[in-house]
């Protein structure tokens, strides 16, 4: 398994290089640093000196890929690509427009994100799976049909509605918890609970329906018939046999997002004023801070690839027949 994981890690390298090149092309080739300088400094009445100064400040005054002026390693190292893009492999994301170290911001901001995203994820998962199991247990009855109809309606509602509606109902009308904000430590509970509830509710529709499909597919298999023939009750068949066998498709969709929980959710965090990575990203987008957006794109794909590897490992734990080699 160790050998397999090392090979997977090596596979990840070209993908990350691809992501790196893609973001580099998006941010530096589609628009030259000159365009960006003009954009940041105001479109009209920008002197060439101001542009040059801005580029020098940011370190954008170097050639893109190959520096003829330098010698030795400097020809490659003293370029925008090497200093701004390749350095991300060392998790060095450089500085944002307001002069802060992006890597340090990320390490402090990921904890509030995690404080919201992790409980939402866990409670959501348990709730959706159980709801789907109940629908499967009562399949083809009125309960199941109502459940499915409810799911379709819930998944047709915009996620913005859940957030705005939830904030309005729970915080403004009932005054149960603060509308937005965040505090560290145990105090954070007051602030976490509403985004968590909204996060869980907004996922009911699509997730429960998806799990129900998985369970129904398993219900048609031979081992279920065998289990019933043994005289097992329907709930026993469902919870002991079907749930276990449905683990593989469930894990495929679920484990991959676990590392991404660090990134938080853009919408939730910006609506609730949570100082996590999601609101960091959305602020960067609104302020057009390209170095932060670039860093988040790279971090996102790094975590996604980590999630894919975790998925493989989880298979071996859920199903002893799976051998990674």
């Amino acid at each position: 398994m160790i050998a397999y994981l090392i090979r997977r890690l090596l596979y990840a390298v070209p993908i990350l290089i691809g992501v790196n090149l893609l973001t580099f092309a998006l941010f530096f080739v589609v628009n030259t640093p000159d365009d960006m300088a003009r954009m940041q400094l105001g479109i009209k009445r920008v002197t060439p000196e101001a542009i040059r100064q801005w580029e020098q400040q940011k370190g954008y005054d170097k050639p893109l890929f190959y520096n003829r002026a330098a010698d030795g390693m400097g020809r490659i190292a003293d370029t925008i690509f090497w200093q701004k893009s390749a350095s991300m492999f060392m998790l060095d994301f450089g500085y944002s427009d307001d002069g802060r170290n992006i890597s340090r911001e990320i390490t402090t901001r990921m904890w509030p994100s995690l404080a919201i995203a992790l409980p939402t994820f866990l409670i959501g998962l348990i709730f959706y799976v159980n709801f789907a199991l109940v629908m499967t247990l009562f399949r083809a009855t009125l309960l199941d049909r109502t459940g499915v109809a409810l799911c379709v309606v819930l998944m047709s509602i915009s996620s913005l509605f859940y957030i705005i509606g939830g904030q309005f109902l729970i915080s403004k009308l009932w005054h149960l918890v603060p509308i937005s904000g965040y505090a560290g430590g145990l105090n954070s509970f007051r602030f976490v609970v509403l985004p968590m509830v909204i996060g869980v509710v907004s996922g009911i529709g699509s997730s429960s329906r998806w799990y129900r499909t998985i369970f129904l597919e398993e219900m048609g298999k031979d081992y279920v018939r065998t289990a019933r023939a043994k005289g097992l009750s329907e709930p026993a068949v469902l919870f002991a046999h079907v749930l276990k066998n449905a683990m593989i498709p469930i894990l495929t969709g679920v484990v991959v997002v676990i590392p991404l929980l660090f990134m938080g959710s853009l919408l939730t965090e910006s609506f609730f004023g949570i100082p996590g990575l999601g609101s960091y990203t959305i602020d960067a987008i609104n302020a057009q801070d390209f170095s932060i957006v670039r860093a988040m794109v790279f971090l996102g794909s790094l975590l996604y690839i980590a999630g894919l590897m975790l998925t493989d490992i989880s298979y071996t734990m859920a199903d002893p027949r799976v051998r990674l080699s």
Binding site: I15, G18, V30, D35, V153, S156, S158, I164, F290, I305
Partner: protein
């Protein structure tokens, strides 16, 4: 001529889609085996009612796509680009109040300082300029609303009934749904001339007008995006599955790279870069409408470029399975060329996957537009869309009393559109999915 037709980029793409749609219908009608799954869709009442609702949205969107510039005097044309829908809904468009007013209100939402007849300053709710303007007695509003609603609904029912009689519709659910829609449309049309049925927004624009205008933006995002997704996913997916080897490796590499970036971030990065390009080249756009329109087209392009990977993976898997089938091997041993095998034997057999995934994607794209506009990487702020409506109205929930109507209308219209699309997509999937066994 007293108008000049204008074809914006998005209009052209819509016409292209309509042409493709007509060609598809014509082709399917000539082939019985292709018609069969559609017959199954047609048997479902839910699907037909949803189709009816969707066609109403489509009609509004299409009318809003026929753009023109009205003639001024001396052969010059107005710089304002209007659509046929704008012309039809002229009272809605021109009845602009000062600021917020609630649905069916006769007065503004907030008190205003005005001078009364003796020249003193009084703070009072002033009457709206257009909402209920014909009404002399304020207390007669409810009766007037009821009278207009009943008259409009009756006219709508009558016209709907005539139409149904002309086409000899039978299915009860469809007939009932059609009549309900006709009655609603009739009542709304009658009321909208005299009142603001869904209230007005911050700058006094009629919310009903804004909601109806948003439909086109949502539909374009949901449909034009497929013009990008479909060819990319189809060519690359089928090529990867059929040729294997280095072609497969390369294509897999491309889509793994693209799909490993969280989609919102990728879209945000691409849109930000597009903004820089558009800001540094202001000379590309003649009018502000063409600028907003081009941004919409670019947004569709970006959404398409980032969302083809899922479909591509599905098509690759299916092609891998198909190429091992006997009939493909037979064709290969007869020396049929790869291009011909692909176009005659592989592509027609993956069409159901494409169709299912396109109808399923539509609703998520409509929903995504609102989220992207909120994040700040959606449509142009000057373009009317569900996202910009929600964005403008969301802070008003903190007011006292609450300004709820703009948000409620945007969410309501969006829910109706997406729900109908979701239910229709489910029926299409059930009818086309060969895995579902039916006798």
């Amino acid at each position: 001529m007293n108008f000049m037709p204008v074809i914006l980029w998005s209009d052209a793409l819509v016409f292209l889609l309509i042409a493709a749609g007509i060609a598809m219908v014509w082709y399917v009608r000539r082939h019985e085996y292709l018609l069969l799954p559609w017959r199954r869709v047609g048997e479902s009442s839910v699907a037909m009612v949803c189709l009816l609702v969707l066609s109403c949205f489509l009609l509004v969107g299409l009318l809003d796509t026929l753009h023109y510039r009205a003639a001024l005097k001396q052969g010059a044309y107005s710089p304002e680009v209007l659509s046929v829908f704008d012309k039809l809904a002229e009272p809605l468009r021109l009845h602009v109040e000062k600021t917020y007013s609630a649905p069916f209100a006769l007065t503004l939402y907030a008190k205003e300082s005005t001078l009364d007849s003796q020249g003193r300053v009084v703070r009072a709710y002033s009457r709206l300029k257009y909402g209920g303007a014909g009404l002399s007695d304020v207390s007669g509003r409810d009766a007037d609303v009821a009278r207009r609603a009943a008259a409009g609904a009756l006219t709508g029912l009558l016209m709907g009934g005539l139409m149904l009689w002309a086409v000899k519709a039978r299915r009860r659910a469809v007939v009932v749904a059609f009549l309900v829609i006709c009655a609603l449309a009739g009542a709304t049309a009658d009321l909208a001339g005299a009142y603001h049925v869904l209230g007005t927004d911050k700058v006094g624009q009629d919310v009903l007008y804004l909601s109806l205008k948003s439909i086109r933006t949502g539909l374009i995002i949901g449909t034009v995006t497929t013009l990008v997704t479909l060819p990319l996913a189809l060519f690359l997916g089928v090529a990867a599955g059929y040729f294997r080897g280095w072609v497969d490796d390369l294509i897999q590499y491309i889509y793994t790279v693209l799909s490993s970036i969280p989609s919102v971030l990728l879209i945000a990065a691409a849109v930000l870069m597009m903004q820089v390009t558009m800001d540094t080249h202001p000379d590309w756009f003649a009018t502000s409408a063409s600028r907003a329109d081009l941004r919409l087209v670019f947004l569709c392009l970006i959404l398409g470029m980032t969302s083809w990977t899922g479909l591509c993976r599905l098509l690759r898997g299916e092609t891998l399975k198909l190429r091992e089938m006997e009939y493909i091997q037979a064709a290969q041993s007869f020396g049929v060329s790869s291009m011909r095998i692909l176009s005659r034997h592989i592509v027609p057999n993956v069409m159901h996957i494409i169709l299912i995934s396109l109808v399923m994607d539509f609703s998520s794209l409509v929903l995504a537009e609102a989220v992207l506009s909120y994040v700040g990487v959606g449509v142009d702020p000057s373009m009317i869309s569900f996202g910009t409506m929600i964005n403008a109205a969301r802070l008003e929930m903190a007011r006292e009393p609450v300004v709820w109507w703009a948000l409620a209308s945007a969410f309501g219209f969006m829910l109706t559109l997406v729900l109908a699309a979701n239910l229709f997509a489910d029926s299409v999937r059930d009818a086309f999915d060969p895995r579902l066994n039916r006798s």
